[in-house]
């Protein structure tokens, strides 16, 4: 009967793998999206499935907008949401009607001293390196932070990441490579995802055959036992 339960867990794991892949594919065009990948983990009583964020940098897409920025290499923009400070790789910003630099869903972008950035009047733009200028005069610098590992980085949706580790582990990046006038595309490669999708599907099929065989055998034995009574 042990094999039976293991096979059931294996089927369930493949289903979840497909869930993860479907989410990656759905977000193949989400700015700054980071794909998840699933990993099988060994446990004392078999195995379990885990997901991890793949933080590789996506391709850059020039947009020509002075308020768009992308980070080349590691780092996250820091934004203030109603639930607290969150982190994002999506640098598609705009100015609110109060002249504050915000994300598309209204979260305030924070500067290197941790306050929202106000840039009123004139010609506002983000320069390479993360400086925010109004008519060429620097008013603030974007805050860019890094994390020691991806383990406690939890996705919240809506482009955002939450850090579940210790607060002092969040480090400001001294010289961030911010590219202005560009956005970072999703790092999902549809071809790779299709390969993962097919692999998960075929593995599912194999396990499903095993289950079927086990069931047939059990049925056969049961009939034999009953018949000999």
């Amino acid at each position: 009967m042990d094999g039976f339960f293991n096979a059931y867990a294996a089927l369930e794991a493949r289903l979840r793998m497909v869930d993860v892949i479907a989410n990656n594919l759905a977000n193949a065009q989400t700015t700054g999206f980071k794909r998840d990948f699933s990993r099988m983990l060994e446990t004392e009583d078999g195995f379990t499935l885990g997901t991890q964020v793949d933080l590789t940098t996506g391709e850059f897409m020039p947009t020509g907008s002075q308020l768009d920025a992308a980070i080349d290499g590691p780092g996250f923009f820091v934004v203030q949401t109603s639930n607290g400070v969150r982190y994002t790789r999506n640098g598609s910003f705009l100015l609110s009607s109060d002249g504050e630099l915000v994300t598309k869903d209204g979260a305030k972008v924070l500067s290197s001293n941790g306050s929202p950035i106000t840039a009123q009047g004139g010609d506002v733009s983000i320069q390479d390196g993360g400086m925010v200028t109004v008519d060429g005069n620097e008013v603030a610098t974007l805050k860019i932070v890094t994390f020691p590992n991806a383990m406690h980085l939890q996705k919240e949706g809506l482009y955002r990441f939450d850090w579940n580790g210790l607060p002092e582990e969040v480090q400001a990046l001294p010289e961030p490579r911010v590219k202005s006038g560009s956005l970072e595309r999703s790092n999902v490669n549809p071809i790779n995802e299709m390969v993962h999708l097919m692999t998960a599907y075929r593995e599912f099929e194999a396990v499903q055959r095993t289950v079927k065989t086990l069931m047939n055998e059990m049925n056969g034995k049961l009939i034999q036992t009953l018949g000999s009574l």
């Binding site: 089927l11 009607s97 869903d105 939890q154």
Partner: protein, 262 residues
């Protein structure tokens, strides 16, 4: 299982909206003053089945968590206010704004709308109006006997009337700038309306306070690049395809589960 089906469906829906936006861009490739729109997406919420660091046993913990995303959704269609190419027309009432800013148009309802389309005309009373007949704001009237209309880069409108040698100034075209032009609401007919997202208009003379300058005798072409839109369309179509593939696989897996019990 059902999750993957819905997740992939959100992806397909997003690509449909993407294609809609691209189609509208392409349809407006010859619209004066049209600004390209781009659909933007964001990831939906995540289901946290097991956070990282959960205890696996008394002494060990899972190094990775289990988070399942629920797909994508469109968050905004952003207008890209890149300058379109200038097309020389020679018509004295064809104007372009070189740089930032919008012409102000008084609607029949009394509201002010904003436009980048500077193909103006004179109505029978002599007022400068848009192609739809709405007067520009502030109103400027060209005398009926005017021989020549000259509009300076700072917006001053001067006319030479018959029998007079010196040009006479009849008004100044003022333009409006916004803190966030991407937030303006498009209402069709090349017009935009201000709202909370765009902020209040700052009205000024062309060439002042970061506003663009006016060029007479030109029109601003649509800033849509057909090649770019074609590439975007191919990407959107392929993205739609892979999402539909995920639906099919999810469906197949479900049917196999159904077949386990005969």
């Amino acid at each position: 299982m059902i999750r993957a089906l819905y997740t992939a469906a959100t992806g397909m829906e997003a690509q449909q909206i993407n294609i809609d936006t691209i189609a509208n861009n392409i349809a407006n490739v010859n619209t004066t003053g049209f600004k390209q729109a781009r659909a933007e997406f964001q990831d939906l919420l995540y289901q946290n089945i097991r956070p990282a660091g959960t205890a696996a046993s008394a002494s060990t913990e899972y190094p990775v968590g289990l988070q399942l995303g629920l797909g994508t959704r469109p968050v905004a269609t952003t207008r890209i206010y890149r300058q379109g190419d200038f097309r020389q027309t020679g018509n004295p009432l064809d104007l372009v704004i070189e740089g930032k800013g919008f012409f102000q148009v008084r609607m029949p309802s009394g509201e002010t709308a904003y436009t980048r389309d500077g193909s103006f005309h004179v109505n029978k009373e002599g007022a400068i109006v848009t192609a739809d007949g709405d007067p520009i704001e502030p109103q400027i009237t060209i005398p009926v006997d005017a021989l020549e209309v000259v509009i300076g880069s700072d917006g001053t409108v001067s006319v030479t009337q018959s029998g007079q040698n010196a040009a006479q100034q009849v008004g100044t075209i003022q333009i409006a700038g916004f803190p966030n032009p991407a937030g303006l609401g498009a209402m069709g007919r090349n017009l935009f309306l201000a709202n909370n997202a765009s902020g209040d208009a700052t009205i000024g003379n062309p060439g002042e306070n970061g506003l663009g300058r006016i060029n007479q005798g030109f029109l601003e072409s649509s800033n849509v690049s057909v090649v770019e839109e074609m590439v975007n369309m191919i990407i959107a179509q392929r993205a739609y395809e892979v999402n539909s593939r995920a639906v099919r696989v999810a469906d197949d897996m479900m049917s196999q589960i159904n077949n386990l019990v005969r």
